[in-house]
């Protein structure tokens, strides 16, 4: 009989804007808004009964239209997202939200306003100075601004009550994903990185409630699965927080002898490491959560501990034997952190391997042999 996990993963693999977002809109008559990575306060959209849709890039499509608007030195996700828009493949989205994760995303908001004047385009500025006593009041006001803007799009006010309910829905969704990751650390062979990636990614297109139950069922199925224990080099992936590597790239890593026990793929899907308070002023609660409980990421400044300390801690926590840096080609936030993180790993004597990926990658031989080399180092020199 087929492993129920695989069936669920297959369902998730098929999740897409064309399929799921359109059918959701047909059945509910509601609106949908695209959210550019890494973090956008989707709870506010959800509270307005707007479907938050995670922008995922184009997965290696030809970008003939976008190439005439985006220079050759810009990352795939900016390029392929614009391509989808220009092809009218994002018409299901009534609006877009771009956060200040990098200079590309900042300007993309303006590019979007010019090319899609009939859509709502929001730019949200998330504080880079969380230490400031004024940051919370600012972010609360910024979220308040979004609340009004989305209420206008939804054609209905967004009440605090509905916001509190949405916070709870998202808390549960994040918890389900964190449970899945906990299982990965204990039994990485029970659910592969590629499967986890697909399970989490589906949350970009499906209603949160539906997605949560898929992830919960998937985790249960994985725990129950009778898959053979596999040996391999336990590694952590770092640097793939925004644009996502091709699924085939992840599979290549695992086939070549790695057990991926932790990663920052889809980090925006599990942005807070604990529940957001659901009592009191929901916008203030969300603002505090962003300022105090966000994970360490290249696109956010102001953590108590440095990014290097955070990475080393992740390696220790997941009992990993090495780190695989995976930066999207041209991704400045990831590429700028790399030398600093690398130095820290060397101080700690943690082996690492470095890759740059892009959506259009189609040949994985070089990736495979580099990973094999990385694994051989421990195989021949125990």
């Amino acid at each position: 009989m087929p492993n129920p996990l695989e069936a669920i993963v297959e369902r998730c693999r098929r999740a897409s804007i064309q399929e799921d977002v359109l059918s959701w809109k047909r059945t509910t008559g509601g609106k949908a808004v695209g959210c550019f990575p890494v973090y956008v306060p989707e709870e506010i959209l959800h509270a307005g009964e707007i479907l938050p849709v995670g922008i995922q890039g184009g997965g290696g499509i030809d970008t003939d239209l976008a190439d005439s608007r985006i220079q050759s030195f810009v990352c795939s996700i900016a390029r392929s997202t614009l391509e989808l828009g220009l092809r009218r493949d994002l018409d299901a989205l009534d609006g877009m939200v771009f956060p200040n994760i990098c200079d590309v995303s900042k300007n993309l908001a303006g590019v979007w306003r010019r090319n899609f004047p009939d859509r709502k385009v929001e730019y949200v500025h998330l504080p880079q100075n969380p230490e400031s006593a004024y940051a919370e009041e600012y972010l609360r006001a910024e979220f308040g601004r979004l609340r009004e803007s989305f209420a206008e799009l939804a054609g209905r006010p967004i009440s605090y009550e509905s916001l509190r309910e949405s916070l709870a829905v998202f808390n549960r969704n994040r918890r389900s994903i964190q449970d899945l990751y906990r299982l990965r650390v204990e039994k990485p062979w029970a659910v592969t990185a590629a499967e986890t990636h697909l399970l989490v990614r589906a949350g970009r297109f499906l209603p949160k409630e539906v997605h949560t139950s898929l992830v919960e069922e998937g985790t249960v199925a994985a725990e129950a699965s009778s898959r053979r224990r596999r040996d391999g080099l336990r590694v952590v992936i770092e640097g793939a927080f925004c644009e996502q590597p091709p699924v085939e790239w992840l599979e290549t890593l695992e086939q070549a002898g790695c057990l991926i026990v932790d990663d920052d793929l889809q980090i925006g899907r599990r942005w807070f490491d604990r529940d957001v308070e659901t009592g009191g002023d929901p916008l203030a609660a969300l603002a505090r959560a962003y300022l105090r409980t966000s994970p360490s990421a290249s696109i956010r400044h102001g953590d108590e501990i440095s990014r290097s300390q955070a990475l080393v801690a992740r390696v220790r926590r997941s009992r990993a034997q090495g780190v695989i840096f995976a930066a999207a080609k041209f991704c400045e936030p990831a590429l700028f952190d790399y030398p600093i993180l690398r130095a820290a790993l060397e101080r700690e004597g943690i082996p690492y391997l470095t890759f740059e990926f892009e959506e259009k990658m189609s040949v994985f031989e070089s990736v495979r042999s580099q990973v094999e080399t990385f694994v051989e180092a421990s195989l021949f020199f125990a």
């Binding site: 239209l65 990658m361 189609s362």
Partner: protein, 265 residues
């Protein structure tokens, strides 16, 4: 009265001799090779012989192309962008857009009703997607550069080539061969990849009909069909397309002479 144009490109050097009646009387074509000056002279001589004339009868010569400042007998220089516009307009008066794919440059030119340049774009400092990419693909497959175009037309299925870098195309082609893909399908993919890249570039200035395809690569039927498929429009391609720049240069020479005559000196 005769005038001439010499177009010194990175791979080939072309020359054209034109008469007062704007008729093309002679053409010359040599590969640029190691010595630009020699190439310019021999192409020029070829054209003169074809026109049945001697050098001293030429009243004005315009040099164009990368080597335009090294044409020793050139009276003046014009960039190949203006010359291609002029030449294409000469062949096809209603053309408004020109796509020119050369050895290491891809250009898009928007031209006005009288063949003047309204706007243009060129590829950035990366040779990806230029004629050189076709050479690399041909070498990798061990097929002559003139054969790949016709061969690509026999393709049966759409195959995507994602990497348009001339350095990396080899590994991508190799992996397709390893998967047992057919050579003509691969070549079709190669041509479509360059077509897509070139069109993306030209879109920056807006593509208006009629579209004329010039430059060395325009002689490749596979490239013509690939661009036509991607643009879903017919392309003007002159049998003289390789001489577009040289003929344009000669026409500028003619205008110059006429202008000077009018100006009375």
């Amino acid at each position: 009265m005769l005038v001439a144009g010499v177009d010194v490109g990175s791979t080939a050097t072309k020359a054209a001799v034109v008469g007062e009646d704007r008729r093309v009387l002679g053409r010359g074509l040599v590969s640029t090779g190691a010595n630009v000056v020699r190439a310019a002279e021999s192409a020029f001589r070829q054209a003169l012989e074809a026109a049945g004339n001697e050098e001293w009868e030429i009243s004005h010569t315009v040099g164009t192309g990368y080597g335009r400042y090294r044409v020793p007998f050139g009276n003046s220089q014009v960039t190949e962008i203006a010359c291609h516009a002029k030449g294409a307009h000469y062949f096809f008066p209603d053309t408004r857009t020109i796509i020119d794919i050369g050895g290491q440059d891809t250009k898009g030119i928007r031209v006005g009703a009288s063949g003047e340049v309204l706007d243009f774009v060129m590829n950035d400092k990366c040779a990806a997607g230029t004629g050189r990419f076709l050479d690399a693909a041909a070498t990798t497959l061990g097929i002559g550069i003139d054969e790949i175009g016709p061969l690509s037309l026999r393709a049966q299925l759409q195959l995507r080539i994602t990497n348009v870098c001339a350095v990396f195309v080899e590994s991508e082609i190799m992996s397709h061969l390893a998967k047992g893909r057919r050579v003509d399908d691969i070549l079709r993919g190669v041509h479509l990849a360059i077509a897509g890249r070139s069109i993306a570039l030209v879109r920056r200035i807006g593509i208006e009909n009629e579209v004329t395809f010039t430059g060395g690569v325009s002689r490749n039927p596979g490239m013509v069909s690939a661009i036509e498929e991607k643009l879903s429009t017919r392309l003007n391609v002159s049998p003289d397309s390789q001489f577009t720049g040289a003929i344009g240069a000669a026409l500028f020479a003619l205008e110059k002479v006429e202008h000077d005559v009018r100006a009375g000196h």
